[in-house]
């Protein structure tokens, strides 16, 4: 099951676009690129909001080709625009019901389960125009899901939100992605892409300059570029075995990591470790304040062109980690595939959700 998109637009007064991609479905496809690179234009083309010539096929359904053009409301896509676009005169429930009204497959109870999923139960009867920005974005996403689309199109849904609201919604989206919803997620935040994208498209001037698994695209980005800096791994659902004063210990297959998190023992958390936060050492005892010193085997190393850095891929008790160190350090530690090292990371540098 794939998504095939071939869209071409090249006219004086239109946004340029020139795309031909076959993308996996059931995953989150990130679209990253500078302002004006055509990200919104692409989403509008896929959704049918803009009429761009080409073919769009989502799984078995042909949304457009040379002969047919399914209008936006007949495509099983739902788009969350950068501005939430709620119906201001309706309540939260009313907005979700609006979407349910067009969804013939909706089962009874869907409304309540969506309200619950997005933490909207306490706001259910509040008018949309009295909600704060973050709440509005949440309703917009809830509403899009109520349409049970084959593809969820998200155009920078987290921009303009404050840190807290953004973090909350990121977690909602991460849950969504894990549930197998196909979504196309536009964002020029490398951080958000690092957390969400399974497959990443990089756009520039209306064309896709890079397409591949998110990990690969991150790894191949220059280490000082925004994308490169956010390279790292997300380790889902590790059980918390201990928690003292907010310093949690998580453990999985012998991999033991300490980090700041409120989660009590017995629960589990997802954690993210950036390559820039991992250093390597030859000995396990280092007289350092760094709390995590994890034995690992070097799987691979690669150096970047025109850059003083080397990327090291590690296997820590079966879990993959990345470390980015300087070429100089790499020589000093004689890093080579198969070598045995200790990966170090500060407890303070690990984020958890």
């Amino acid at each position: 099951m794939t998504i095939q998109i071939t869209l071409q637009q090249q006219a004086p007064h239109l946004a340029p676009l020139s795309i031909s991609e076959v993308l996996p479905s059931g995953v989150c496809i990130g679209v990253y690129g500078p302002s004006g690179s055509g990200k919104t234009t692409l989403l509008r083309g896929i959704s049918g909001l803009s009429r761009i010539s080409g073919t769009v096929q989502v799984k078995d359904a042909i949304w457009q080709d040379e002969n047919h053009f399914l209008p936006a409301h007949e495509r099983r896509a739902a788009m969350v625009l950068q501005s939430p676009g709620l119906l201001p005169h309706r309540t939260v429930t009313g907005n979700i019901e609006f979407a349910l009204g067009f969804n013939k497959r909706a089962k009874p109870g869907l409304l309540d389960s969506i309200l619950a999923d997005f933490g909207l139960l306490p706001l259910r009867d509040q008018r949309a125009d009295t909600l704060s920005g973050g709440e509005q974005q949440r309703v917009a996403m809830a509403r899009a899901l109520a349409a049970q689309p084959d593809v969820l199109l998200l155009d920078e849904p987290l921009t303009g939100l404050d840190d807290e609201a953004r973090q909350t919604l990121l977690q909602v989206l991460m849950r969504l992605k894990r549930s197998g919803t196909t979504c196309i997620f536009v964002s020029h935040s490398a951080y958000e892409q690092a957390l969400l994208a399974d497959h990443l498209l990089i756009m520039d001037s209306g064309a896709i300059t890079k397409s591949g698994s998110a990990e690969q695209v991150f790894a191949e980005s220059p280490p000082t570029a925004a994308l490169g800096r956010e390279l790292g791994v997300v380790i889902d659902d590790i059980p918390v075995v201990e928690n003292v004063d907010g310093l949690a210990v998580v453990e999985k297959d012998g991999l033991r990591i300490q980090l700041a998190a409120g989660a009590p023992p017995g629960s589990s958390v997802s954690i993210r470790v950036r390559a820039d936060d991992v250093s390597l050492t030859e000995k396990s005892e280092t007289h350092s304040s760094i709390m995590n010193t994890i034995p690992a085997v070097i799987r691979a190393q690669s150096s970047y062109p025109d850059s003083p850095f080397t990327l090291v891929e590690l296997d820590a008790s079966g879990t993959r980690l990345f470390a980015r160190i300087t070429n100089a350090a790499s020589s000093k530690l004689k890093v080579r595939a198969g070598g045995q090292v200790y990966a170090q990371m500060k407890a303070a540098a690990i984020t958890s959700f």
């Binding site: 676009g85 949309a128 125009d129 349409a147």
Partner: protein
Amino acid sequence: MSVEDLQALWLTLKLATSTTFILLVIGLPLSWWLVRSQSVAATVVNVLIALPLVLPPTVIGFYLLIAMGPTGPLGALTSSTGLAPLAFSFPGLVFGSVIYSLPFVIQPLQAGFASVPQSVLDASNTLGAGSKSLLLRVAIPLSQRAVVVASVLGFAHTVGEFGVVLMIGGNIPGETRVASVQIYDHVEALDYASAHQLSLVLVIFSLVVLTAVYRVWGRSVFTQPRHSSA
């Protein structure tokens, strides 16, 4: 006030109400189409709707009368479909008033619809709302105030209309003699007292309606909301 004055007022109310109703029924989808269409046809329609403005109403009435006459296209239509002729009848008045007041309804509606945020329309569109749903469930609820202003302008303009109505209505008491014609008759007959009286009734009625409408909804159509909500 004489029985005839009251009758005329009642007729005016009936005419203005029916006309406003029909104006909305036609004007809402038409304005919606005009706002959304980029076609040449939309420009043509926009121009045609505005055309009645440049001719004196009496002259428009005159041409409508010719069209409604047995030899005119409208007359041919009504007689071939077995309908009663439009001239000198209440339906004819309504027809003429609709033609004549259409620009005053179309204009605020277009302005109102155009100010519905594109993001709301686009989002609703991808959720499954087609053009009709967008009009009924998004554009109209979000342009409530424009709809009110359009109704008021259409209503008021129909109340004050006179040239067209006099010409195609035939000034028949209880049937086509509306208040504006009645006032005109009073003035022509030098019956100033009755003219003043009836004018005053109309003006006060309008004052009340307009004030209420502008106070409650109207002004905000033109004034920016303080918060660009949703």
